[in-house]
Symmetry: C2
Subunit: 475 residues, 2 copies
């Protein structure tokens, strides 16, 4: 990160944590320059970043102020630990989400769908079409089990941005990040084993642990900095944890980016207790700040980090192309991939390799990052407008998911039941917890371009939440 | 099956089992009519089928004779049981097969690749290209977890040919038959459970059992009629078997079709001992006789048969589209599908649905069945010509795999090592057994159109086998 980006980052954190309130005067350029030992122009650049983000505004002859009109909702509280490993259930509520065919008169605010209508995806479709016209029909053959070489080369190149230097031979292509995570867990764990997870945690990973007969130990997680290393260390001392599974960059559902020093510390903790780390980086390329944050894998010294990702969030989920860098577990993960589904579909791999190598990936990402950041602000504003005033809302640093916490005993399952009948779906909070916590929370997807229809859907969710909360607090 | 096809079937079995030898006179039309209670013209039709197959030839005024020039090699012997459930290994030799990228100067006689060069596949490619050009880009979205509705409707229709009446809602789309089998096993079994399998058995299924910590109990299997029901019943009495997994139609690698009465009996055996049946029907549509044989699923009365299949052998493996009809295990199999890889890639599903519903599937199958049958004869002839005279060879009734048994102590692993250096690959026999049996056997793929290059490759394999066998018998 450049100096000014780092400084902007620090200031943003302070504003978001409420150290400076809306309308407050921010430190002078001179004061910041002295405090951080950087030049005046570096501070000015940092302020311009905040200005672009709508977080700060200059007033003539008075310096910078926290944007007054921005009364951002408070952040959710730090998640509480369950204290003990638990079995996972709630499959019925997850299947509710994933059984829906797309686009059937439903506003789907629940699933992890990116926006795939961007014109920057056109070359990918052209490439798919071109592959279908080729005489040698490469898309029809079984590929090698490891995946297409051309694609693995491109992924190795992209991973440099995440601070990882891996060779194409260390990469295994999978059917989405989902399969990457599943193979990784299966390669390491036996039924009954304990997996430490950040909490809340992606419901898909939770279900995978459940289906494999594993127990999840939920570790308290901060909505700004991620999993609590202190709590994790305590857990590592108390329980025979086999692996730590987490989603450090543009976390789903919290939206935080785990700070670099904490990533480094996490790896050394894993070394000390000799456990593996499964890193879900699927939203990492969608961090709003450029360059993108480093992966935990970047700090891996002895191959204990299994990094999982995919093109499902950055390009399109229907292609089902993901990958895993399994480190020292390469042989076991490859075996699990083979016994799970065999080779991965060939044509989407070839098309993505074309797309990336022709230079279409970066401009597409730039566009999507900017669009999602704007949509985040719009969605946050709608939530502020339509949801109960007591709602606490995350401030995602990437991706396209908003997490909303309402006071207990609010029940998002009851909310979902009511709005479903009206054609709107959300992800209920409890599926993000092994122990069924977060029933008072929900997750909204803001990938789709803001529209009147979308606002109406959020309004419906918010107003229904207001009514249910009032009823719950009375009853 | 029509009367004449049934009769032709009976006669073919008798010829293949050596009841009538090459040059022998076959029973007169009148005698057969009396024996089977069918009309004279039915017998004549049956003989014409045998004539078309090159098994029988008419001689003027003398009736029908077994074709003299056909000196088919003997069939392999009935496989021997291991007597006890065993752990499976040999992953290193399987990965050898599946790690190869396609078409790299290698004649791949080892893997299960169909011929994908047929012009009857063109509409499928056109459909793929068309989908990529559609403005609403349906191929980019997540599908429903169950798979595209349009495709499930077409599969339900196709399954009628296998004697199965299932609704689209009973079908779950998977990433190939491989994932269908994997999800089915995982839905039913816990680590340590025992699975009864036909033997030899597809190495992919063997590896799946191994990777899940299951034990395989290999049941003796007849190269003409399939798994021994007598041995199976004995095993069911002796061991706590959880599921019977087998491949009854155009068996891989034996090529037999399990006769209908035996399928029926198998189901009632499973009922009596209350075990599930996992049926791999992936080659069923490639049976050379039309109509195709019934699936075991056709005789299922209480949902205990999980039928698995895919378009990987009939259309193209690179598409990775298969399915499972999980019967009473639907909920568990769906869960396993979700935790394994989530949704299946969308575009190939849509393209196949187009292809089938537009009526392109049947003509394509007809063509491939005829081509594979011709190739079987050609390949058999090459084996007769170049392999040791003591080689026993299967006579597949569908699909595109030949199984060759050589006298002990012949070692196919040593054979593979020698020919690999010369760019030819085979599947070694021992990977088809949990216990590492069949090391004296090998499997050849005859999907590719016969060519001089192919013949040279088979010649190389055969001559190397001759030399190694001679050395082994001397040493």
């Amino acid at each position: 990160m450049t100096l000014y980006a780092e400084l902007a980052h620090v200031l943003r954190e302070r504003i978001e944590q409420g150290l400076y309130r809306p309308g407050d005067r921010l430190p002078s350029v001179r004061a910041l320059s002295a405090e951080h030992g950087v030049s005046l122009s570096t501070v000015q650049q940092a302020y311009r970043v905040l200005e672009d983000d709508g977080l700060a505004e200059p007033r003539p002859k008075s310096g910078y102020f926290v944007t007054a009109s921005r009364s951002l909702p408070s952040l959710p509280s730090i998640s509480k630990a369950t204290q003990r490993p638990v079995d996972i259930s709630q499959w019925d509520q997850v299947v509710e989400l994933v059984r829906q065919p797309p686009g059937k008169q439903v506003v789907q605010l629940g699933r992890g769908l990116p926006d795939i209508s961007s014109p920057t995806l056109k070359p990918l479709l052209r490439s798919l079409a071109r592959l279908s016209r080729r005489q040698d029909m490469p898309g029809l053959y079984y590929d090698t089990l490891y995946g297409t070489e051309a694609l693995r080369e491109q992924i190795a190149r992209l991973m440099v941005d995440a601070g990882c230097r891996v060779s194409p031979e260390e990469i295994l292509i999978t059917a989405g990040c989902h399969e990457a995570l599943s193979c990784s867990v299966r390669a390491i764990c036996q039924p009954g084993d304990i997996v430490a997870v950040d909490s809340p945690s992606f419901y898909g990973s939770m279900q995978t642990l459940q289906g494999l007969g594993l127990k999840a130990l939920e570790i308290p997680t901060d909505p700004l900095t991620g999993i609590s290393l202190e709590a994790l260390e305590l857990a590592l001392e108390q329980w025979p944890i086999k692996v730590i599974q987490l989603n450090p960059n543009c976390n789903n559902p919290f939206g935080y980016i785990m700070p670099e020093p904490r990533k480094r510390e996490l790896v050394s903790l894993a070394q000390r207790y000799d456990v593996a780390i499964i890193e879900d980086d699927v939203y990492g390329d969608l961090a709003y700040d450029y360059p993108r944050p480093k992966a935990i894998k970047a700090f891996d010294q002895d191959g204990r980090v299994l990094m999982c990702s995919s093109f499902s969030k950055t390009l399109a989920p229907g292609l089902r192309v993901g990958w895993v860098v399994p480190g020292r577990y390469q042989e076991q993960v490859t075996h699990m991939k083979y016994i799970g589904s065999g080779c991965t579909a060939t044509q989407p791999q070839l098309a993505i390799a074309d797309f990336v190598s022709a230079g279409h990936y970066e401009p597409h990402l730039r566009r999507m990052r900017a669009q999602y950041q704007r949509s985040r602000d719009e969605m946050t504003e709608w939530v502020r407008r339509y949801f109960p005033a007591s709602a606490r809302v995350t401030r995602p640093k990437g991706g396209f998911m908003l997490w909303i916490e309402l006071p207990e005993p609010f029940d998002s399952v009851a909310l979902n039941e009511e709005i479903k009948a009206k054609g709107v779906h959300i992800a209920v909070g409890n599926i993000f917890s092994a122990a069924g916590k977060y029933r008072n929370c929900l997750r909204l997807n803001y990938a789709a371009k803001p529209s009147a229809q979308l606002e109406a859907a959020v309004k419906l969710v918010g107003e229904t939440a207001c009514r249910l909360l009032a009823e719950a607090q009375v009853g």
